[in-house]
């Protein structure tokens, strides 16, 4: 009676992810879970201040991930710059502009949903692109011991040989200076505004 439905012979790809075999793997998964959870909370919560706080946790988890990858100095820098600098900066700004209230920024459900679907699709596609690449899932570590140690960094950053990074380093330092000046100039009150405020008072 019914036509024979020939099921397509689907071959599931071999799952390339490393299963939690050792302690390192377990640690990675835990850190990753914490990182993703806090990141989602960062984006999803309504209150912008809460969002900043979750961002701190996310950054800290990232720093731990760096530690797992034997990049101690970077983990340190991550915590110092991001958690200690940037996020504090953000929090200050939030407080400066805090009396806007939360209701002003509610977004409509379709927009949230559309954004969600788009980002999911994006991630899905990217992941699907790299999954078949077998060399990515070998697990072999090629980095030498202490590859991101202070000594290595110091030699490379200040070296001006063929593989020295002295020029980018100097450029970044100039950039930082410029940033400082720019930030002050931009955020400074102009004369008109000062007068206006005086007039209001």
């Amino acid at each position: 009676m019914f036509p024979n439905l020939a099921l397509p012979n689907i071959q599931l790809p071999e799952f390339p992810l490393a299963f939690p075999m050792g302690g390192l793997d377990i640690a990675f998964y835990v850190v990753a879970a914490v990182m993703l959870f806090t990141a989602i909370c960062t984006v999803a919560v309504k209150n912008i201040l809460q969002s900043a706080v979750f961002l701190i946790f996310s950054f800290v988890a990232t720093a731990i991930l760096y530690l797992l990858l034997h990049a101690e100095f970077i983990a340190l820098a991550q915590v110092m710059v991001y958690v200690g600098g940037v996020v504090i900066f953000v929090v200050f700004t939030i407080l400066l502009t805090s009396h806007l209230g939360e209701d002003a920024f509610t977004t409509k459900i379709p927009r949230v949903f559309a954004a969600f679907v788009l980002s999911i699709a994006f991630v899905f596609v990217m992941v699907k692109c790299i999954l078949p690449v077998e060399s990515l899932s070998s697990g072999a570590v090629s980095a030498p011991e202490g590859y991101s140690g202070l000594e290595q960094f110091a030699l490379r950053l200040l070296g001006y040989g063929q593989d020295g990074f002295i020029i980018p380093f100097e450029v970044v330092s100039v950039l930082l200076l410029m940033t400082l000046i720019c930030a002050i100039t931009v955020a400074r009150k102009t004369k008109d505004e000062v007068e206006k405020e005086k007039a209001v008072k």
């Binding site: 984006v43 953000v90 980002s119 899932s137 002050i184």
Partner: protein, 101 residues
């Protein structure tokens, strides 16, 4: 723990950043999402350096630069945000868009 795991993690983080960037109307919220995305990029740098790079130190160094430039970017962006807030009394992207034309 292999490169694939790290990359997928980074993609997920990046996707979350994208989601946030699209759904937020608050300028600072959008900045935070951008931070997440940059962070994901940083993870990629480090994990490639760790697992497969010929010159591992260079990859790690790059993440240092990224962090530095990110900090700069944040500083400027926040300064602009403060000015904008002062001028328009708003940080709503939709409203600001209406204001400019």
């Amino acid at each position: 723990m292999n490169l694939m795991n790290c990359l997928i993690l980074a993609f997920l983080l990046f996707g979350i950043g994208v989601w946030g960037l699209m759904r937020r109307r608050h300028l600072i919220g959008m900045l935070i999402s951008i931070e997440l995305m940059l962070n994901a990029a940083n993870i990629n740098f480090i994990s490639f350096a760790y697992f497969s790079a010929h010159d591992a130190t260079a990859g790690a160094l790059f993440s240092i630069f990224v962090i530095a430039v990110t900090a700069c970017e944040m500083a400027i962006a926040l300064a602009i945000i403060v000015t904008m807030y002062r001028r328009h009394k708003s940080l709503d992207v939709d409203q600001l868009r209406d204001l400019h034309d």
